[in-house]
């Protein structure tokens, strides 16, 4: 079964600074990768996804992520954060090929805290 590691439980950053939220997964085979955001008292919203093709994926709200197969990573980045980016961010991975499951496994989440 897949496992997902989000290395940082909390990332504090100042407004307009760049940020990287780290995500590593367990399998080296082909996977589908996702980042979701959860604003306070809301559900999860899909930020971006990698299914195939270009390893650099652009999502909503200025976020992007890069799939690195050799390092089994899918780190999320934003060059300049806003106060409104304060939220919980979840990395998720599914492994549907070779008889695996489409159901994504989620990481524990990283709390991004943007300070003015």
């Amino acid at each position: 079964a897949q496992s997902v590691t989000q290395l940082d439980s909390q990332v504090p950053v100042f407004e307009e600074a760049p940020v990287e939220l780290r995500c590593n997964y367990s399998s080296s085979v082909s996977v589908y990768l996702f980042w979701y955001v959860q604003y306070p008292n809301q559900g999860l919203q899909l930020l971006l996804k990698y299914l195939s093709g270009s390893t650099l994926v652009k999502g909503i709200n200025g976020f992007e992520a890069e799939f690195n197969k050799s390092q089994t990573s899918f780190h999320l980045r934003k060059p300049s954060v806003h106060i409104s980016d304060t939220a919980e961010y979840f990395c998720a991975v599914s492994d549907p090929r070779r008889g695996g499951s489409y159901i994504p496994t989620f990481g524990r989440g990283t709390s991004l805290i943007v300070h003015p």
């Binding site: 559900g43 999860l44 996804k49 998720a92 489409y102 159901i103 524990r108």
Partner: protein, 113 residues
């Protein structure tokens, strides 16, 4: 933009009681899911539902849990006899196809006392 709607937003129930959590998925979606998130812990998969039957379920989804699509719009999760450890945020999600990313509802916070 289409939404997944969950009701109620918060439910408090006595231990041993039955609860039904309700969800209205996006109308043209074919795949439906329940996840839960215990406070401070990760989002855990419970069950997926397609073509009027369970397609996949986790170890958490034991005999106390059941799902149903009673009509063309609702998708429900029933917990037969709630335990204290069932207290969590329960999220419903739907998708057009397998694997492409889900649309989640805002969740139902279930508190078992």
């Amino acid at each position: 933009e289409p939404e997944v709607t969950q009701t109620p937003s918060h439910q408090v129930t006595q231990m041993g009681q039955e609860v039904i959590l309700r969800c209205v998925p996006i109308s043209n979606h074919l795949y439906f899911y329940w996840y839960r998130q215990i406070l401070g812990q990760k989002v855990e998969f419970l069950v997926s539902f397609y073509n009027n039957e369970i397609s996949e379920k986790s170890e958490i989804f034991d005999d106390q849990f059941s799902v149903e699509r009673p009509d063309g719009s609702n998708f429900t999760l029933k917990i037969r006899s709630t335990k204290l450890e069932d207290s969590a945020m329960y999220f419903c999600a739907s998708s057009e196809a397998e694997g492409g990313g889900y649309t989640f509802g805002s969740g139902t916070r279930l508190t078992v006392v």
